[in-house]
């Protein structure tokens, strides 16, 4: 049985299916004394197969936006389309791997939670670890891995349940420039394979490698535009015929 949707390398995924649709989203944190209006009216549509980079200064509301998309939190006001039925894979800045168990078992975890059978788990985890280039590190514990490797394990884990969208909050924030670039490369590869990705980053250079940049400032979307990467991808598709 096919574990992940197999697409031929370089194939351009269709972008018509809507994965995320937010309309007039507001989020107010009520800490008792003060009310922080983290999001003040967000409209955002992300289609299947898109690679969106979310940028913006610290405190602008990026993580809040991400939590709402991933259903880890609920908006104070506004519409969030078919959020519940959507499968989401998370990647965190601090990896959030469980230190007591091996890389393999970390990737296996969501499959266990999803009730996937043992044989299929084995196959899927092996394939994912191979995909993120860590086939030889499966039995290592997270503490025995470098930051970049840990983040790869986390990405494999996020992909395990074959999610509709992968959400990554500053996935390169804890990594040096070169490992950060590698992780971004992995995301590009996933994008080429048809994955939908939303990645928060501070690094504009990395953001430009995504297909679309959404800039958040003070809880509002200031800018939302495609990058040249999409064109590159289109050219790739065109030349592929």
């Amino acid at each position: 049985m096919s574990v992940l949707p197999r697409r031929r390398n370089g194939e351009i995924p269709a972008t018509d299916g809507v994965v995320i649709r937010m309309a007039g989203i507001r989020k107010v944190y009520d800490t008792g004394k003060v009310k922080v209006e983290a999001l003040r009216g967000i409209d955002l549509v992300v289609h299947r197969g898109e690679f969106v980079a979310v940028v913006g200064p610290s405190g602008s509301g990026k993580s809040t936006l991400m939590n709402l998309v991933g259903c880890l939190d609920t908006p104070t006001e506004g519409g969030l389309a078919d959020a519940r039925n959507r499968r989401v894979g998370f990647v965190f800045q601090s990896f959030n791997l469980l230190p007591q168990i091996t890389a393999f078992e970390n990737v296996e975890m969501p499959l266990l939670f999803g009730g996937v059978g043992k044989r299929e788990r084995q196959a899927r985890v092996t394939e994912l670890m191979d995909r993120v280039g860590l086939a030889d590190r499966m039995e290592h514990r997270p503490t025995e891995l470098s930051g970049g490797q840990m983040q790869r394990v986390a990405i494999a884990r996020a992909l395990a349940m074959n999610p509709d969208v992968v959400l990554a909050d500053e996935p390169t924030g804890n990594l040096d420039t070169s490992s950060g670039g590698d992780i971004m490369g992995l995301f590009e590869e996933l994008w080429r394979q048809g994955r939908t990705l939303v990645v928060i980053t501070h690094d504009m250079a990395l953001a430009r490698r995504a297909g679309r940049i959404v800039e958040v400032r003070d809880g509002l979307i200031l800018r939302d535009e495609p990058t040249g990467s999409v064109a590159t991808l289109r050219e790739a598709r065109a030349s592929h015929g």
């Binding site: 993580s63 880890l72 998370f90 959030n96 168990i101 975890m109 266990l112 909050d169």
Partner: protein, 416 residues
Amino acid sequence: MRAGLVFQLFLASSRVQKKRAVLTIASIAWGSVALLLLLAFGEGLKQQLSRGSAGMGTNLAVLWMGETSRPWQGLPAGRAIRPRVDDVNLLRERIPGLVGIVAEMRNWRTAFTYGAKTVNGRLTGSSPEYGELRNFYAQPGGRFIDALDEASKRRVVFLGNERAKEIFGDEDPVGKTLLINQTPFTVVGVMKRKIQMGTYGGPDAENAVIPLSTYVAMFGSDRVGNIVLKPERPGEMPRVLADVRRIMGAKYGFDPADEKVFPTWDTVETGSVMRNILLGIQVFLGVIGALTLMIGGVGVANIMYATVKERTREIGVKMALGARPSWIVAPLVLEGLLYTVVGGAIGLVLGMILIVLIGLIPTAGNDALEFLGKPTVSPLIGVATAAILGLVGLLAAYFPARRAASVDPAQTLRYE
């Protein structure tokens, strides 16, 4: 969820808190020891007491001879009613469903002389049935008063073991002759030592019993001192007592409903009161034990809260990865239960060893130890201890686990 993974997670986290885990298990063990010992002491006390209350005989009623408290058919109140020995024989004939009914005559200052030694004390005259009703059992080599003694007014005496010791010292009294109020009597038996809680007039160990017929001849009066009776079924006691008043009332002319005529000690009634008191004592001891165990439970809850706090991030991650709350809660509850079960098992084993050791301490001869020093385990105690342990474990694990289930992943996953 894969059991191995759960176990691995458990081991990994409990390694971090090994010291805390050991202390917690120790406190649960201590609580279990306390609970088990208290319950066992309570049970031992109860069994000793019921054995003790059985010492006087069970399901008896003792009737004293009193006065009428109300006028009856022209007769005034305040008349003393003094039945005779024959009246007791009448009652024996007329009342069905009796194990026995006997007259008991007593003299409080009787001189017992053996050789050069004279002691003063109680003398009782009663029928052979008296021995059965009131649990006078003879030591080997002797016997109680029998029917022949009674029929032929023999001068024989059955001595309480303390009285025998007082008069004869280390000598074997059976077959010896002593003087009772200057009249020679032969000792036919000495009472086997018994634990006696209830007494009226003094313990049986200090008594001396002679045949009723002999007593009447000796003291020249056949007015009954008191009546001792026992129905075949304890529940019939009220009916039997009513029969006594009805038959005697008809003969002596008093209101059969007048309970003051024969002031009565109904041991069926007082026995049930005592059983309730004993149950109360046991519950009280159990509550103290349970509270001690509860302290251990607080320890478990504490360690579980700490665990949940330490693993908040882990829990948040698992939730973000799609874990259902029960998958978060179940391993934590299991962990809490495990501490309780391990601690409880250690405690119960230690407790049993202690109970056996305490049971080995000789207590014969020391009254206080005889009542307190015999902790006893019953199946009910086992069930109660296990149930309390389980409850403590569940409670101690449930609340922390509930906190774990309410972890907000968005909060915990914020980058620190």
